[in-house]
């Protein structure tokens, strides 16, 4: 049996020069609207004291988490973790663009496309993956800062890169319920632990929270009460039997 795939990115921050060719390639490949982008490069700024200065750029996109908080809140299952590839995807024909998942993402890796009324995000260029190609951002990266592949395959480019890396960092986040997001994006050969790229606690909109903690208990109590009521009467009816004529 073929092993389950776990696709993800390895980003060698020591090789990124913030040229943003990946942003352009991604937008062109995925027809992303001019106002939006699915991937970012975060500039952590100049650090250190002259003359020992350094500056790190962190290419950034959906982490394709093992435990994505975004899929937990999607009401319809329009956003889901794909069983075959492990990629976190949005079925835009099912999505209504309410933005629950945008709030819940600890990495701000999703956005609302207001023109199309849907949520959009990095898909790992699954359309290219299906025909055996690498994502557009990866093939276009001149410095080879971006790598993509299956972490479950020890011979894959990403697994080899992880093995040879000087440092490995992962923006893991412990969720309120104790589980970890376990992102499938690994940053190697540099320091990315900076407040600018740190994940935040998933936010839940007022509508979702009141639904969960107010409406569900109230309405289910009503349903329970009415069910119990009719069950009592039905049991009584069964025990007493039916009269031919009503009095």
């Amino acid at each position: 049996m073929a092993q389950k795939k776990r696709y993800g990115f390895v980003i060698d921050v020591s090789r990124c020069i913030d040229c943003r060719a990946c942003l352009v390639a991604c937008s062109a490949e995925n027809k992303v609207g001019m106002k939006y982008t699915r991937i970012w490069v975060r500039d952590l700024g100049v650090k250190g004291e002259y003359p020992n200065l350094e500056q790190t750029f962190v290419p950034y996109n959906c982490m394709h988490c093992e435990n994505p908080p975004c899929t937990q809140v999607c009401v319809s299952g329009a956003t889901y973790k794909d069983g075959d590839t492990g990629l976190v995807l949005v079925d835009q024909e099912a999505c209504i663009g309410c933005g629950f998942c945008v709030d819940a993402c600890p990495y701000n890796a999703r956005y609302l496309d207001r023109e199309r009324g849907v949520v959009d995000k990095c898909t790992g260029c699954i359309q290219r993956l299906q025909v055996g190609q690498q994502p557009a951002c990866v093939t276009t990266c001149v410095g080879k800062a971006r790598l993509f592949g299956d972490f479950n395959d020890p011979g894959s480019e990403v697994s080899v890169a992880l093995k040879n890396a000087r440092t490995i960092q992962r923006l893991d986040y412990e969720l309120p319920d104790g589980a970890h997001t376990e992102p499938n994006v690994y940053f190697i050969n540099g320091e990315v632990m900076d407040p600018q790229v740190q994940p935040h606690e998933p936010a839940y909109s007022l509508a979702e929270t009141s639904w969960k903690s107010l409406l569900i208990p109230a309405v289910l109590a009503g349903i329970g009460a009415s069910f119990l009521g009719q069950a009592t009467f039905f049991t009584k009816q069964l025990v007493e039997g039916e009269k031919e004529f009503e009095e």
């Binding site: 329009a78 023109e115 349903i223």
Partner: protein, 265 residues
């Protein structure tokens, strides 16, 4: 006079005599509603798959997604049927507004003093108290039915409004789409809470058996009407007597000119 003291022969006569309770248009709309709800409720429950809310079991989600071919198709089916339901219902109400909706609201929906009294006594009686206390006479619909009708009307407005927001998601702001989902769910399941009793009372509960058949024939027996909806029953009797008087008067007045003409010969 209580219906319990009626002599046997009169009871038999009342059982045989049928009076009209529901108009055909209402009956058809009711069963149309049933059919649409049978399609919409299961698919709607199956759509709800947020693990955080935990509103439907996994197997329901998987089963319906397999039957319909994915989430998008399941949602498409749900909102297509939903739109048909909303359009037909709105059409029926608009076309029948003066002939059905206004009289129905006026004569059968408004709560009277007796209804308020009923609401005080009935819940206690169901819990086993005040068994001896007689219930006030009820209209064509009792106070419980009337209350549920308000839930249904408000719920239906909520369902249709929030459903439209989610169906036409490209034109509405995210804020509305976020609230449309809990509103849709709460409206549906407020109705479902009463629906459990509605279906049980209508189809299973022995004393209300006539109510079930009346949703096909439109008619209930005078006995049932007198026992369960006495206010409405006496109203009907009064109407019938008035109608008889009117017909008698008409026959007499049309007979007189003929006599007069005869006398003139």
């Amino acid at each position: 006079m209580s219906h319990k003291t009626i002599p046997l022969a009169e009871r038999k006569r009342l059982r045989m005599k049928m009076i009209k309770k529901h108009q055909l248009a209402n009956i058809l709309t009711h069963w149309f509603n049933v059919g649409m709800w049978l399609m919409l409720l299961p698919t709607g429950i199956a759509i709800l798959s947020s693990p955080r809310l935990g509103l439907s079991p996994d197997w329901v989600q998987v089963f319906f997604r397999n039957v319909f071919g994915g989430t998008a198709n399941l949602i498409r089916f749900h909102y297509t049927v939903g739109l048909i339901w909303a359009i037909v219902l709105t059409f029926n109400i608009l076309v029948g507004f003066r002939k059905y909706f206004v009289p129905f609201s006026k004569e059968r929906l408004l709560l009277s003093k007796d209804d308020v009294e009923w609401m005080k006594i009935k819940p206690l009686q169901m819990l086993g108290f005040m068994k001896g206390k007689p219930l006030p006479p009820q209209d064509a619909y009792n106070a419980g039915q009337k209350l549920y009708m308000y839930v249904v009307i408000l719920g239906t407005v909520g369902i249709i409004a929030s459903g439209l927001v989610m169906t036409f998601h490209t034109v509405f702001p995210p804020f509305l789409k976020q609230w449309a989902q809990p509103v849709h769910w709460a409206s549906v399941f407020s109705i479902v809470a009463g629906l459990i009793i509605h279906v049980y009372m209508g189809a299973v509960f022995p004393e209300e058996k006539e109510a079930f058949f009346s949703m096909f024939s439109g008619k209930v027996s005078a006995w049932y009407a007198r026992a369960h909806h006495s206010k409405w029953y006496w109203e009907k009797v009064k109407e019938e007597l008035e109608w008889e008087d009117k017909v008698t008067a008409e026959v007499e007045s049309s007979a007189k000119p003929a006599e007069a003409a005869h006398a003139g010969d």
